[in-house]
Amino acid sequence: MAFEVDPRTLLNKLAFGPSDAELHSIAKMGADGWLAQQLNPPVEDDCAQRIASTHIHLKYSSKTPEAEVDEDRSLAVLAEPIEQHWKVVEKGLAGQERTFFRTAVACATTIRTVHSRWQLREVLVDFWHNHFNVNAVGDNLIAVALPTYDNQVIRRHALGNFRELLEAVAKSAAMQIYLNNRSSRGGAANENYARELFELHTLGRPAYLNALYNRWRDVPGALEGRPQGYIDQDVYEAARAFTGWSIEDGTGIGAGRRLPMTGKFIYVENWHDNYQKRTLATEFDPYQSPLADGRRVLDLVADHPATARYVCEKLCRRLVSDTPDAAVVAAAVKVWTEQRRKPDQIARTVETIARSEAFRRSTGTKVKRPLELYASFARSAGIAVAPTPGLLGELDGSGQRLFGWGPPTGHPDENDYWLSSAMMRRRWSLLLGLADDAWKAGGPQAALAVAEKAKTEQAAGAAYRQMLGTEAPPKVTTAIVEGMGLKPGMAFDSRKDALPLARRMLAYCAMTPAFQTR
């Protein structure tokens, strides 16, 4: 079936906004060809070079002068394995060495969202980072684990198989630390991970039936082995199943022995609760082989129909609208379920959503989140991004602090949240700062052509065309020109301040509803 959709909608929803280059490639290969490529990106990071050549200044003092650091640190370290990153923990280096990793991953994200060819993958990376949220700002040990989490867990599986992604997350140092499973022990297990596994990662809150049923066997379908949802008893038992799943963080394991310090996953048999369990109406015999209990829980939750509904609905909310119609969700659920043993389950599901009628009609339904606002401005206005702490600081204050959202829900994905007065102020300051290059992270090249226009309203019109891809409504150009204290018909290119005014025009065009939404 031919895939007919407005290229700008396609790029606003399945990419971080249109860029001249991307519009060109869709014109050349068609929406079909573009989507097919995006669904099957190469493993290699096409931004690796750009990231490795980016440096972030790192400076801290120390009691011993030789341990002081004052240098530009390359982001190339992101590609190293976790045991390399964990050396800052092993050696007990300054906290700045730990937080650097969060800064570095966030900077790499500001590069990939703008410059990666594999935009759909980056959109899904953002989705899964929120779905499987960790807070690397609140805990600097999570920051050390973040590069591996970003690359080897989230990006690696972003378009892959959900069950594989789920296990990679469960074993990751970032999630083990964030939801405390690494300190969970048989006898009185820590329920944090198990609870959010059910509520946020898989079956979802609509399937939490605790207010209705106190006993597992009362849950409808339980006696047939197919419970409709879960209750606290399932959480308790799943928490027991994951005891012993931990990371090599130097913890003592008895008899004077300690785990190594590498940040890698490890299963500690001594910590595991080996007795029989029952989760989602399924009996687990005692003394299963290593990891078997936890894996069984992951199998059960990944296969549960509520998970398909919950995750597909969330994907549709991200890619279509806050209130996706039932047909697109149902179509996604069908493909998700049919493809659940396939390595490209997520890609197939996303394709189904993208080819839906609801998607085709979804122009402008979503308010851009700050990361999307930033990246789409950079892409439309032709900024070659060289991230700086200033840019990152602005994004951190925008309401969407990358890898720094506290609760395990991830950032809200509903329009109203992003339109509060605090958010609106930050949206405007983000756009003005990008246009003015306030953080020395790269200026908007598109301003040059705008500044060459002879008259004020022509300049405003050119800015609008650049940012929105259509002719500006006359009342918008008039509003911008007059609002800036200029007059229509006034000469523009001959002004000394034409370039800074042109940059501002790009920002004001980006403040229009058409640019603020996707």
Partner: protein, 416 residues
């Protein structure tokens, strides 16, 4: 000592001259000036405060048996918990040793506690429980006939549905859902300016003077909020005026400190904001709880005390309620933490409050008295507390029915 004198002075005034308080006036005509209309401040402790680690009967056998010493309040030792008079059941209820400032307010009878209070729903989900409490309902299906947050409904019921409310977080909290005129600012120390200044204001006014899409409406609301709040913050030279709390109150450079200071500042501006929603995060202590909880309760206690000191001359019209989505499990886990529980602790400060007492029925901690045999049972619905405050010091007796339709509040006895 200075702080303490303040409290004493204010509380004495309260006892001796109740008849001159605005709230003592009969329900009839509204108070003459806006300055005397009651103000509601809610503090939501996100993550589930371990109420049994904050206020608990240290001599309760089950309490002692079910938690190791480092996870519970102690009657003696290096840091004994602070004794509280007025506890139920003849038990030795005590407060966390880091909360001496709040305990002073309690002893001065300016603050009351309601233990075993919370949500009438068995959920142990943070997000489920928060949403239900903030919307003032007991079950998700009630959203079919009860819309928005309970604070939003209260504002509407009091005829202030169009007046601004203020939230000290980036996004509008569920308590104020549907109250579109909510101003959000986490901190006012840097002001609440418009990025881009006059030029941006002029362009935005040209672009959004009318239009009814969500972005246009949000823009106009934001510009109005900036005009209301930012102007009074500035000195003639345009710089943000440093804030000097009364009585040398120290809020602390913490989330709760900055937030309550911002609230005090807006109250002092007297711009007819009557509802404030404050958040404090970090209470989800599944792991390594003792030092984390000590830190949190210390910050909370100091900020609450500073608020009372700073606004000593305003407290006769301020109702402040501190709540959390749930308490935590009686038995701790092996991570030195506690998992999600049920009933929790509500802290109330209000004029004419029956302070210095722990209200509500204490259900006990033996396993047959626990909810699901593991968690503190709920004996006071948080809505009963709020409804009683509406009928009393908030001076909006007709509001409670509309705010909590189909809910029949029970008497808590919070009012002296």
């Amino acid at each position: 000592m200075l702080i303490r004198r303040h409290f004493l002075a204010a509380s004495t005034a309260l006892v001796l001259a109740p008849s001159v308080r605005a709230f003592a006036a009969p329900a009839s005509p509204p108070p003459a000036t806006l300055a005397h209309r009651p103000i509601l401040v809610t503090v939501f402790l996100r993550g589930g405060m371990d109420s049994l680690g904050v206020v608990a009967p240290v001599d309760d056998r089950d309490y002692v048996a079910d938690r190791p010493p480092e996870m519970r309040l102690l009657a003696d030792g290096d840091k004994p918990a602070l004794r509280l008079d007025g506890g139920p059941s003849g038990l030795d209820f005590r407060m966390h040793p880091e909360m001496s400032a709040l305990r002073e307010l309690y002893q001065d009878k300016r603050v009351a506690l309601v233990h075993a209070s919370g949500l009438d729903n068995g959920t142990r989900s943070h997000f489920g429980a928060q949403e239900l409490i903030e919307r003032g309902i007991a079950n998700p299906d009630e959203t079919a006939h009860v819309s928005g947050g309970w604070m939003a409904r209260w504002l509407a019921a009091t005829g202030s549905g169009q007046q601004p409310a203020f939230a000290t977080i980036s996004g509008v909290p569920d308590e104020l859902a549907n109250h579109s005129n909510t101003i959000c600012a986490a901190d006012l120390r840097g002001g609440m300016n418009l990025p881009g200044g006059k030029q941006a204001l002029s362009v935005l006014n040209h672009l959004y003077g009318n239009g009814s899409g969500p972005i246009e409406l949000a823009t106009r609301r934001t510009l109005a909020g900036i005009a209301l709040i930012d102007g009074p913050l500035r000195q003639p030279d345009g710089k943000v005026m440093p804030y000097k709390p009364a009585g040398d109150a120290t809020y602390g450079d913490t989330e709760i400190g900055r937030s309550l200071e911002a609230v005090a500042r807006v109250i002092r501006m007297d711009v007819n904001v009557r509802a404030f929603a404050v958040d404090m995060g970090g209470w989800d202590t599944h792991e390594n709880q003792p030092p984390r909880l000590a830190n949190l309760v210390g910050q909370l206690s100091r900020a609450l005390a500073a608020f009372h000191t700073d606004l000593h001359d305003q407290m006769d019209r301020i109702v402040l309620v501190v709540m959390s989505e749930f308490g935590r499990r009686l038995r701790s886990n092996k991570s030195n933490g506690t998992d999600h529980g049920h009933a929790g602790l509500t802290i109330v400060s209000a004029p004419r409050i029956a302070g210095g007492r722990i209200h509500g029925t204490w259900p006990g901690l033996s396993s047959d008295r626990l909810d699901n045999a593991v968690d503190l049972a709920m004996t006071t619905d948080v809505r009963s507390i709020l409804a009683e405050l509406m009928m009393g010091p908030l001076n909006t007796p007709d509001a409670a029915n509309g705010v909590f339709p189909r809910f029949v509040p029970k008497k808590v006895g919070l009012l002296a």
